[in-house]
Subunit: 224 residues, 4 copies
């Protein structure tokens, strides 16, 4: 894919996330990586969704050096570290969407309470731990990625392509910008379902493993 | 009605369910049966609502054999079994709509808390039990219909034209695709009312039988 | 005002109530009375909001006899009795709007928790009692009005121009159809505020009388 | 800036607040001050958002004397007192927006539960105390400003540019009408997040100071 096409796709995915109501004001961003060329394209900082164009998408190398377009979103180092830690993903969407962020702010894993969840995520969407004061005061954005990667140690990041970051918001990922946005949309819907479910019964138990597997593998081919 | 008309109606009902916000992404479907011709028309799998046309509606025989149009939704066997078990219905709508699904995920019957409910459903909208591991691992979609039919043993499926499926979502039905969609819309509204009611008073009691009957029979002719 | 103008106004008020989301499907209606001519105009039964025109508004005399237009809404006798009991009102709006109906279903008065409420209603919006089985089986719609009138004994129906009916929904009134709709909109907003307030603190106390009076009389001239 | 430009900006900010759903009916208003000219421009009373134009914005001097345009909103004295007490602000937005007002009605400070909050407000958004009966019966609108100013004694009103007023609603401010509206939008979003968070865990603790500082100072230059 040409750089121009990638910029167009990242632009469209950012707009789609906004259009779907997962981004209020300017709180969120989508990026994509071209691992062969060694570049990442990400939403620019301080440009409104109305003013944004494919050409002002920020292009950086994998060390974060600006190559062209606008100034990258301040979350840029988080995205770069996630691409390093998750070698099989091509795009990332970050949101402060209402229901997913409520789970993040409450510091709770989003448990699978039904087949809607199981169609999207193989198990709970985990909530990564809060950063220590040291991590906060250091390379904050990089460390945000590191607590995410730490949380996925021993977990399959392709089977559960999203995470909650305690006190913060959500990250979702996929092979393409379109897919990362779709996962973010599913995460928000599943989180809203879960809140309503917990309102009806705060002691609702997660669904059992066989149902989770049945639905997950109906949508996703089993890897063997 | 010609097959072409039936496909058009099923198409329009699927779009209406989407337009009303009861389907997010691709999570839901409407079907209709022509019992004389021995065919069912159902939403195709893997086609977005934007790309859908009357012509790609999936047409199958009552054993599920594809006759024309797109590949049928994976829920197709559930629909077929429900048509077998409920001989007087002509159409089915399946959703993961937010409030109805919250009840399903909480595993609770949707009790009648007011006349809005009683205008639509004669008594609670029951929540069918979760499937056993054996049922899950076997013919899952057929077994989903079987727990629904089991739940309606001794109940009038025409007086209460909807069900919740534990950990899953909702099914609604009627004589036509338009009516099945309308029942799904009413179910979602009544579920939202019920959640708000339970937030205000978790111990709210269902309305009593005389009020239920008064309203139900004002809208529906009493069968004698 | 000519009958034609009144029909136009009742038509517009019904459409406005629908447009504002207080009526789902066909659940609600607005009426207006011309006391001099001895007629009431009310939304017709069984006509969708899309198909409705000023000309199919139902016109009845004050005994409920149909004079022209469509068949009147089944709630017609409730409206007529309220006009008899509340001699100074000119129009009534009935809804099953989500938040007001949640209070009605929970059987709770809507207490004044803030100045938004006090700007509209002088004290709580009361919840009329449930009907007895005898009242239900008798002239149900008339009796619905009677429990409302009973609830307002000794209360000023102009200072609190709305009521909740237990297990049912809301009635709002005013001097004109526009005003009755506006009161219904305010009631729904105040009910939504109250639910959120009670979620944050279930023991929230109603505001005190001096604040209620300060706001109410800022908007409404004090009668002396 | 010319008076004409200021009127245009205040008009646009009022419309934006309405368009974003923070004002229902006519419940809210935006003002701006020109401290050099000694005038304030504020939304007029009793004019619908549809009928409003830049020319009917109310222009008053800093004692509240009407200079041109419509009759000023009844909240005018609150705005004037806030401008006196907060010498570095240029505009104020007042709303009864749903989620912020729920906190005000519950009489609770809006605590910082996440980085979304910390990006906007340096610490909690405080809830000013209820007015005494004496304050209510006296110069109510002025006294509303006085309890706000009292609440900010020893606090930085530029670092936390919003307040909740017990039993009432919210005020937000900034250097310009656009910014005051943006702060009101952020306040409402953060309040909605907080309610959902407290539904999930009523004992959620505010975030710790280092995270608050990290995010706040990422968006706002540290003053030294």
């Amino acid at each position: 894919m040409s750089l121009q096409e990638l910029k167009q796709k990242v632009y469209a995915a950012n707009q789609e996330l906004f259009r779907r109501g997962l981004i209020l004001l300017n709180w969120g961003n989508v990026s994509a990586i071209d691992r062969e060329k060694g570049i990442m394209v990400i939403k620019p900082a301080n440009i409104s969704f109305a003013a944004m164009t494919p050409d002002n998408m920020a292009v950086v190398d994998l060390c974060g050096k600006m190559l062209e377009g606008g100034k990258p979103s301040s979350d840029m180092p988080t995205h770069l570290e996630l691409y390093k830690g998750f070698p099989d993903i091509g795009a990332i969407a970050h949101t402060h969407s209402l229901n997913a962020t409520a789970f993040a702010q409450a510091g709770k894993n989003l448990e699978p309470f039904g087949t809607t969840h199981a169609d999207c995520f193989f198990g709970n969407v985990p909530c990564a731990r809060a950063l220590t004061t040291e991590e906060l005061r250091g390379e904050y954005e990089k460390n945000t990625a590191h607590v995410i990667l730490e949380r996925f140690t021993g977990h399959d990041y392709l089977a559960t392509p999203a995470v909650l970051v305690a006190n913060h918001g959500a990250y979702a990922w996929g092979e393409s910008p379109e897919r990362a946005v779709e996962v973010a949309v599913m995460l928000e819907a599943v989180a809203e379902l879960a809140i309503k479910t917990l309102v009806l019964n705060p002691l609702t138990e997660p669904i059992e493993q066989p149902l989770l597997e049945r639905h997950y593998y109906r949508k996703h081919k089993k890897q063997s």
